[in-house]
């Protein structure tokens, strides 16, 4: 039945859009404030409902700031074959695209993707 199909499609779209974030990204992160940072990943908190990835980013003067990048639930990463060690990337440089926190918390962002110095990338959320 057409109505049911529409409902199913709506449900699928809803699920695909929201499950990527477990909760509403829009309530916490600003989709209009995209940032790109480069550094090294120093720690991964493998926890639910969201994995946290810590990236050390040095400015031109060499001062290091640690960013907190929020990501998906652990099972999503695991089922994609990702581990915390893979995310750390062996200490190589990595560039992250992310959305900044709406409440102004500094250095807190929703992780979209990671691109490593050797060229491989992990895309975790759509933009």
């Amino acid at each position: 039945m057409a109505t049911n199909k529409l409902l199913v499609l709506a449900a699928l779209a809803l699920a695909a859009g929201t499950a990527a974030a477990h909760h509403s990204v829009a309530g916490q992160f600003d989709q209009a404030k995209r940032t790109t940072i480069t550094g090294t990943i120093s720690k991964v908190d493998w926890i639910n409902p969201h994995v946290y990835i810590y990236m050390d980013v040095a400015n031109e003067q060499g001062a290091v700031t640690t960013w907190r990048l929020e990501s998906l639930p652990t099972a999503m990463l695991r089922k994609a074959g990702l581990t915390s060690e893979m995310i750390k990337g062996g200490g190589q440089k990595v560039t992250a695209a992310a959305l900044m926190a709406r409440n102004g918390t500094p250095n807190l962002a929703w992780l979209l993707n990671l691109t490593y110095e050797d060229g491989h990338a992990y895309t975790l959320a759509g933009e």
């Binding site: 049911n4 409902l7 199913v8 709506a10 449900a11 699928l12 809803l14 699920a15 695909a16 929201t18 499950a19 990527a20 477990h22 909760h23 509403s24 829009a26 309530g27 916490q28 493998w46 926890i47 639910n48 409902p49 969201h50 946290y52 929020e70 998906l72 639930p73 652990t74 099972a75 999503m76 990463l77 695991r78 089922k79 994609a80 074959g81 990702l82 926190a101 709406r102 409440n103 918390t105 807190l108 979209l112 993707n113 050797d118 491989h120 990338a121 992990y122 895309t123 975790l124 959320a125 759509g126 933009e127």
Partner: protein, 269 residues
């Protein structure tokens, strides 16, 4: 006048009926034969089941060493069996409370604080271990690792357990369907993401039916003190998977303090 009911005139009909009857019997037999069974002849529901929703619908794409989970060109994740959700219908006296809780979900939804999601919100079991007289349901959930023990040996519900998030279950077989009745819940979980509270008198009936490598799960929530009618969830179909469940890492919320509005959280399971 030709008698249309002569044996010869009935023959094609009889043959037709016999043929179709035989076909139906064979079909049913094949269907039944496709169900793995335990030594006692019951369908064996044991296995790890991808229930096609929540975390299980991740279908990542891999390109060399690169991996895409969501936001991939061409789509990296597709839901498998997410049916149109149904909504519990409340008695008129409680509609305003549900609407209020729904509006304030971020502040009120227990599951966002990492507690067990309750039944039926937890969804179909991720793994079932079955033996004569009992089945054990296992869940790798965002909120934690959970289990439910389902006696199937005819014993009644226990009478001395504290009310709990996942309640006390007992099961029985209706033909090849395992019917699980669960009671003795606390009132600290919701039925859905949308403010669908329940009382401690909630009773949930789940029906699980296995074919060859699929498991159908249907659940109905009964809570007549607040629900206008029993709430039947949309049927879910899980598929046998070789991706084993693991211990859920700790659930520690660090997000809610940063929420700036009431944007709704959807938590598919």
């Amino acid at each position: 006048m030709r008698n249309s009911d002569t044996p010869s005139s009935r023959l094609p009909t009889v043959l037709l009926a016999a043929t179709f009857g035989l076909a139906a019997t064979v079909s049913a037999q094949q269907s039944n034969d496709a169900i793995p069974r335990t030594a006692d002849g019951r369908p064996d529901l044991s296995g790890t089941w991808d229930n096609g929703a929540g975390i299980d619908f991740v279908r990542p794409k891999q390109d060399g060493d690169s991996i895409c989970i969501f936001g991939c060109a061409g789509g990296g994740a597709l839901p498998l069996n997410v049916a149109a959700p149904t909504t519990p219908q409340y008695r008129p006296d409680f509609a305003a409370r549900v609407a209020d809780l729904d509006k304030r979900q971020v502040a009120e939804d227990p599951v966002l604080r990492c507690v067990a999601p309750g039944v039926p919100r937890i969804g179909p079991p991720d793994k079932i271990v079955q033996r004569a007289g009992e089945a054990v349901f296992l869940y790798e959930d965002v909120s934690g690792s959970f289990f439910r023990i389902v006696p199937t040996d005819g014993r009644p519900h226990p009478t001395n357990n504290e009310p709990s998030f996942l309640g006390d279950a007992v099961g029985h077989w209706e033909g090849d369907t395992l019917v699980v009745e669960t009671v003795n819940f606390n009132d600290q979980t919701w039925l859905t993401d949308n403010g669908a509270f329940h009382t401690g008198d909630l009773r949930v009936v789940e029906r699980l039916h296995r074919t060859a490598d699929t498991l159908e799960w249907v659940a109905t929530a009964h809570d007549p003190a607040v629900l206008a009618e029993p709430w039947e969830l949309a049927k879910r179909v899980a598929r046998l998977t070789d991706v084993e469940i693991v211990e859920s890492p700790p659930c520690i919320d660090r997000s809610l303090e940063h929420m700036v509005d009431d944007s709704h959280h959807t938590n598919p399971r």
